[in-house]
Structure formats: C-alpha cells, structure tokens
C-alpha cells in the first residue's frame, strides 16, 4: 500500500524520526506493540526493502518509525536520510509482528541497546496502560544519551545507561522472579551476550524473546540452474527462490509460501540447499536432495534443480 511521508524530524546527525500517513485510504491497518513494516526505498537500479519497527502504538492515522543511518549504507537508510522529504510517496507493507508482548507474563524485562530501543517505544504505552510490571534498561553510547533521553518517559522502572558496562546483566537477570519474560533488541553482539547470559543462569527459551525480522528480508543472492527448463536465474537478496521462478514465467508447484505444506518441494541435483522450512525431516535436510523453494535458499553460489 502507498504511504506519504508526513514529517521528518532529526533526533541527531544519524537518527531521524519519520511519520507516514495513508495516501488513499483514511487509515492504515492497526499496528501493534512490537510490529514492523517493510518500506520500499528507491535506489539506483533496484528497490530496497527495509524493515522498521513501529515506534507508536495502535494508531491507524499514522505510522512512526525511527531510522538510523547505517554506516556504508548502499541504499535504504542513506536514502531516507539524504533524499526523503515530506510529501513523497513510498510503497509499504502492512504491519507484521514477530516480537509481540507476552500477555501471560507477570513481569516484562526489556533490554535494548542503541537503535534497538524502537520496538520498546511501542511497548511502553501498552504496558503502562495495562499497569503491567516491567523494567526497561536502555544502553547507548555516552554521547547519544541526550538523543534517547527525550524518547523515554521519566519513571523509576526505566533506566538509561550511558554505556553497556553500567548495566550489571548477571545481577539483573538473576534477580527476576519466575514468569518474568525477557525481551532483547539491539546490535547482534548485545543480543548474543544478553541471551547467552540468560540461558547460562537457566532462563527457559519460551521466556526469552528477541527481535528478528525472520525471513522477511531474504538472504544472500545466488544462481539457480534449472535442468529440465534449461534456464539459469539470479535469485536476488530480497527475493525468494520461488519468486525468482515465478518472475521467469514458470509455474512451479506452490501453495502455503511458508515452508509448511510441502507442495513446492523440488529435487536438488547440485549445490547445497540452505533449509528454512518446517516440512523436511532432519534426515531429509541433511541429505540435501530436495528443497522447499518458498523459504529456502542456497549455501553454495549455485544450486541445480530438477525442474
């Protein structure tokens, strides 16, 4: 669907707050705490699809996102920082949510670093409205404290740390009562350290939630050779193998597009599949003789399929 850039506000030299409004309809589909949208960002020769968390709650009149300019950005965030202007139209996806609030939790422990604060900005009004027990610890670089401070409500259970070292992770995680849920969002190293610490002291997997955009952003590009169709196709980073086959005018078998139904299975003649489906057994995956084209990709630069 189309969205119009309504407002752009600089929070710092590298962080912008962007408000989007519906173009044709009078309201967007409802967003939710933890949801993200995909923005299609024009670039030279191609379109980037980037995922951004919604930072405001369930409002339908507008979507708000916060975008950090990624160092060495080839497209995407650099375009939003350098070229985006109010009034421009962008294609966006409806909201999806892979990081929802766990309703059954008795307490929520939110840990974020850097731009990883964004999903929690949508959590805060919901948790406060529900009078839920929660704690938020946000870590950032010392010189970015004043960027993040205005985004966070002043409350005893919300703490801003001017460095990752001022957060005593082990003490904090050890002190939590049973049925506390942990939510982690931030740079990969921060997430890895935090989740490893929680697991080491016995947090169950079901109570650890990490923000990830799943398969929504694709993966590395590769070449697929089709033995029977005598074709060679390029599968782009933001494209699924199935989409590449369809875009080439072929009609491969497919149904659920989520790696569950098994319909799109094709035999592999060469190369190593990178399985992301839920259909093949562990043994079938290891054998590497077939692939579910809707979600799986390639570990090798080339894949040869019997199709």
């Amino acid at each position: 669907m189309k969205a119009r850039i309504q407002n752009i506000r600089s929070l710092s030299a590298t962080i912008k707050h962007i408000t989007l409004a519906p173009d044709a309809e009078d309201s967007f589909p409802a967003g939710a705490a933890g949801a993200f949208i995909l923005l299609e960002i024009p670039g030279p020769g191609r379109v980037w699809k980037n995922a951004y968390s919604l930072v405001s709650g369930a409002g339908r009149r507008q979507y708000e996102i916060i975008v950090r300019r990624v160092a060495q950005s080839r497209g995407g965030s650099a375009w939003l920082h350098d070229h985006a202007e109010p009034g421009q139209l962008l294609e966006i996806s409806g909201p999806a949510n892979l990081f929802p609030i766990a309703r059954a939790a008795q307490k929520h422990l939110l840990l974020s670093a850097g731009i990883g604060i964004t999903p929690f900005l949508s959590y805060l009004p919901v948790l406060q409205r529900q009078n839920a027990a929660f704690e938020l610890h946000h870590c950032c670089k010392l010189d970015e404290q004043e960027v993040f401070r205005p985004l966070l409500p002043k409350a005893p259970n919300i703490t801003l740390h001017g460095s990752r070292n001022s957060l005593d992770l082990m003490t904090l995680l050890s002190a939590q009562k049973l049925n506390t849920h942990l939510y982690v969002c931030g740079p990969e190293a921060f997430m890895d350290v935090t989740i490893a610490a929680a697991k080491r002291i016995g947090w169950p997997d079901a109570k650890i939630h990490e923000e990830s955009f799943g398969g929504a952003t694709g993966g590395a590009s590769f070449i697929v050779k089709l033995a029977r169709s005598a074709m060679e196709l390029h599968v782009a980073e933001d494209q699924t193998l199935l989409e590449a086959l369809e875009d080439a005018g072929l009609a491969p078998p497919r149904m659920c597009r989520g790696g569950a139904c098994g319909v799109c299975e094709l035999p592999v003649l060469g190369g190593l599949p990178d399985h992301h489906d839920h259909y093949l057994s562990a043994a079938a995956r290891a054998a590497g003789k077939s692939i579910m084209t809707c979600v799986s990709r390639a570990k090798t630069p080339e894949l040869v399929l019997d199709f």
Partner: protein, 351 residues
C-alpha cells in the same frame, strides 16, 4: 455480490432449509481429486476460488438469517457455547473490528459501519440492528465485543492466543460444530485439541501446521477446507446435545438417504489479529443434501469415488460405518467412470 436472503428457515425440528440452485453452484466442494487423504491443505485466503463462496473474507449466503436465529436459540439453552478467557479482551476487539470492517466492505447493502473517532455506528440491515458504541469500551455494547459480533456472522469462531511457541484455544463462539466441544477444549494447546484426529498425527501434519500458523502474518489470512457427513441439515451437532441428534443416524434408510444425508463442509479461515497478535479461526459451515449435491454431475461422481476408497480409520473417525455403503449405493448410478477435471470447480454454470 447479489444475494437474496431467505427470511425464515430452520436447522432443527422440521429442517425446512433448502439450497437454491445458486447456493448449490457456489457450494465449496472439498475434493480436488478422486482420493482423499489428510494433508496440510492450507492456501492463502485471497478473494476468488473455485466457487463464489471464496469471494469474501467472511462469506454471507442465503441462509444468513436462519443461521443467526439458530445460534441465538442454542445460546439460550447453553450460554457456555460462547466463552472467552479474560486475557483475550484485546483479541475480542480485534475480532469485532475485523468482522465489521470486512462485512461492511464486502456487503455494503447488508451492513454499514460509520466511525467518528472511537464512536462507531453499526447497522445490520437484515437483522434490524442499529448500534452506536465506543470502540474499546465493552460496557457500551449489549454483549461482550466477541459475542456481540459473532452472534451476527455465519459460522463458528475460536480465538487462539499465541504464546510459548504454541497456540491456545482461549475463546470461542461454537454453536454449529461437528461434534466437538468448546467447553471441553477451552484453554487447550494446538496438539491437545487435535488429539482425537486419527492418522494425521503420525503423518506429522499437526507439527507442520502449527509451525506454519505460528508464522501467520497480519494481512495474509489463509484457508482450508474440512468435511464430514451429518444426518439432517442440523447446525448444532454438539457433544452436549448428542441425545438430540445421535439417534438420527439410526433413521437412515436407502429410501431417505438422498434427502437426509448431508455433506458438511467447513471453509476454515485463519487470520492474524493486529493488536493482540492472536489468531482468529473461522469455521464457516455449509450443509448440502445428497440429492442437492448430485445435481452437479462432477460432484456426484467424485463423491462416489472418494467414499468408496476412503481410508478405514477416517471412515471410523467421521462416524460413517453405519451408512457409508448406503451412500455409495445411492451415488454409484451417477458415476459413469468418466475422467474428472482436477480441482473443485463445478464445471457447469446451471443445473
């Protein structure tokens, strides 16, 4: 869509309900091939399909008024047919919003939704309802939001909470079920409520289906068909009321089977709800008497082949042993052995 709603119809007592020619041609026939076996037969729920029943997000047909009336009768006798656990209030509003917006969009002559901020006005013209309420404030509606709206939509609904990498049936409106009980299943996890289904567990169907549904995305609903056989076009074949309908099975004879035996198809839809992240499961049931079904030549032939070759455990689970052979005997003369087209479209435009 041009629909003429039948003003009065019964799905109990004298069973006055009948399918018009149009209803027969739009029936969601469940067998794409001559042989039936369980599979994860899920596909995106996009407008359009083999018949007109697949056009709307939530299908309304000529039986709308009679089915809503039958639901109200069932709820008078047994209010526990509608139950929602307290933590699902957000999902209740999500459901109300989704159903009202979908119905008003797909059937503008039947339903009107007007919004002024959080003040909503809902007009249900066939049922003569005109209700103004505040979205998010349950006390402004005569029933809790989930019950309020599902009393006005055909088919059963359950809401599944998504937590701990599983789905839990934490609410529902179930008055037209094929012999299962919300009161019994409430709070169960995905594998628990599917416990009684034979064969499919061993095939891994439920593991794959759960993994798929946990990834179900907002704005991308999916659907599947399920089927069984029911004696008489009775909506409420619940375990609670087994004494009322169980004995009907013994009334089937070769003479009355054409009229009494019904194919019951569920057009099941699964929709991710936005704020609660719960999943709304719609179980939209359709009933068709054998004598109505056989008016579509392809359906008569395929139904004959499917029942003739059906896996014995499925025959048992669907409660068919007593009358399966009678159905096969009734259908056999319609089947000339012709090779049928794949898929479930009727292959004819009139009867």
């Amino acid at each position: 869509m041009n629909i003429t709603l039948k003003p009065t119809e019964t799905f109990r007592g004298d069973f006055s309900t009948r399918n018009s020619d149009a209803a027969i041609l739009r029936f969601p026939f469940p067998f794409p091939e001559d042989v039936y076996m369980y599979a994860v037969n899920i596909e995106p729920h996009v407008p359009g399909g083999p018949t007109e029943a697949f056009t709307a997000a939530f299908d309304i047909d000529e039986h709308y008024i009679g089915e809503c009336h039958d639901r109200a009768l069932t709820l008078i006798d047994d209010p526990a047919r509608c139950q929602v656990l307290p933590h699902m209030m957000e999902a209740e509003w999500d459901t109300l919003e989704l159903l009202m917006e979908s119905l008003a969009k797909d059937y503008p002559t039947l339903f009107t939704l007007t919004k002024d901020g959080d003040i909503w006005r809902w007009q249900n013209h066939p049922l003569g309802i005109d209700q103004t309420f505040s979205f998010g404030q349950p006390e402004t509606l005569p029933y809790p939001p989930f019950e309020y709206i599902t009393r006005q939509v055909q088919g059963d609904f359950t809401i599944q909470d998504h937590r701990d990498n599983n789905l839990y049936m934490d609410g529902g409106m179930v008055t037209s079920q094929a012999d299962w009980s919300l009161n019994f299943d409430l709070g169960m996890s995905f594998h628990e409520w599917h416990g009684p289904v034979p064969v499919a567990h061993e095939l891994g169907v439920f593991d794959r289906a759960l993994a798929y549904l946990l990834r179900l995305q907002y704005g991308k609903p999916v659907r599947r068909l399920n089927w069984t056989l029911t004696v008489n076009p009775r909506l409420d074949t619940s375990p609670e009321n087994y004494p009322l309908w169980g004995p009907d099975k013994a009334t089937i004879t070769p003479e009355n089977i054409r009229e009494k035996m019904c194919l019951r198809v569920e057009l099941q839809t699964l929709t991710r709800l936005p704020r609660s992240n719960a999943i709304l499961f719609g179980i939209r049931g359709y009933l068709i008497r054998l004598e109505e079904l056989v008016r579509v030549k392809k359906y008569a032939k395929r139904m004959h082949r499917v029942l003739r070759d059906l896996h014995p455990e499925i025959v048992e689970y669907k409660g068919m042993p007593r009358y399966r052979q009678m159905i096969i005997d009734y259908l056999a003369p319609f089947d000339d052995g012709e090779i049928l087209s794949s898929g479930t479209q009727p292959d004819q435009t009139s009867l």
